[in-house]
Amino acid sequence: MTEAHINRIATAVPPYDVHQAFIQFGHALLGGNERNSMLFGRMAERAGIEHRYSYLNPAAHPDAASTSAYAFYRRGDFPTTAARMRLFESQAPVLAAAAVEKLNLGAERERLTHILITCCTGFSAPGLDLEIMSRCRLPKSMERTMIGFMGCYAAINALKLARHIVRSEPTARVLVLNLELCSLHLQETTNLDEILSFLIFGDGCAACLVTADPTGFAMDSFCALLVPDTPDLITWAIGDSGFNMVLSGQVPGAILDAVREKSGQILKGLPISAIDLWAVHPGGRSVLDAVERALDLKPSALGASRDILRRFGNMSSATVMFVLEAMLRAPKAGALGCAMSFGPGLIAETMLFHASSDTGTGTSTRQL
């Protein structure tokens, strides 16, 4: 059977670092509640995040070409879903095109056969698929698939589908895009738990090429692990004023129990010590801590995931691809890896992979 490989990954983020500005904004949303403000400040300090990016410009005097974060999120008048989607339609293709261009496809772009896109933060039709094909001059004959609204684990689903395509059609060359503009869905609230959930999300896009060429990471197997009785722990629904998220504080504990109990299923019987590369979705510091404890990993094992969390926050479906991109830059031939993402269900979507003998080249993240 043909082996499918992640040959290359490229990533891009929008131009404005909004993390520190959001912390100030979060305190303002709490409206002078000293106790909650203190708790918010301390939680922000230990979130393990230093930067998150957005197309919303937090500068006091933004340039004319950008959208002011404070004008977009005007107190007492947060934007409608339609207004948010208009911004998505204008900015998402820009970010996606930047990531695709960084793949340096060259003449290879003519040979692309499929495009798969994951996104849960914006929708329109004709959609991102056609817009990207036009902007990036991709073949009009490409087969297109949108994987929508699955949340943070969708990248693993997209890789799974890309692998199926390549295995059934060995000449296929699949472009996978994971694009999320999470910063468009801030809600006006004084609820500390909600404001804390907004503290971790940022925008980003990953593009990768999956083919039968034996370079980069070979995708060996996948596992979808549904955690029983947890449908209410993460929810994501379309509201009148953006998309509304519920992110329960019980998520890390549920992940810890599930990963610990099902590690044999996830690793297909391999011992934990056999895994060299842990590409765990940095859904938040507590999620990474939970996985580390569940598998009794050394603190360094999740270093790449913690570094992506620190530099970019949680970019939903794009995040685990940022982690894989970092690993792809310095792979050891034959190294075994396990990628893992979590989202609504709760579901843990996992993938076992290994570094090919002829490794691909990673690229640094482009800030627009």
Binding site: L39, M43, L196, Q250, G253, S286
Partner: protein, 89 residues
Amino acid sequence: MDVEQELQAIVGKKVKDHLESGTKLVDAGLDSLDVMELAFDIEDRFKVQLPQIGTELISFTYGDLCRLVEKQLAAKADNALAAPSGSIP
């Protein structure tokens, strides 16, 4: 004063009744913000960092909390022993 007594004193600022080991924090009347605040009070008092700090602590029993703090204190002591005694010039 031992760890358990000190914890009772910290928890006692929020809960009037003496907590039994098997009592869940949520059943003692603490909400998610209370447990977050409690965790920070514990960190400040014992100079340790708790791996669980958010609302996941709410499903802990008082006994779980005691064991967690004792574990973190033991880890802190181990780290202190492992650290070099002098500095390298």
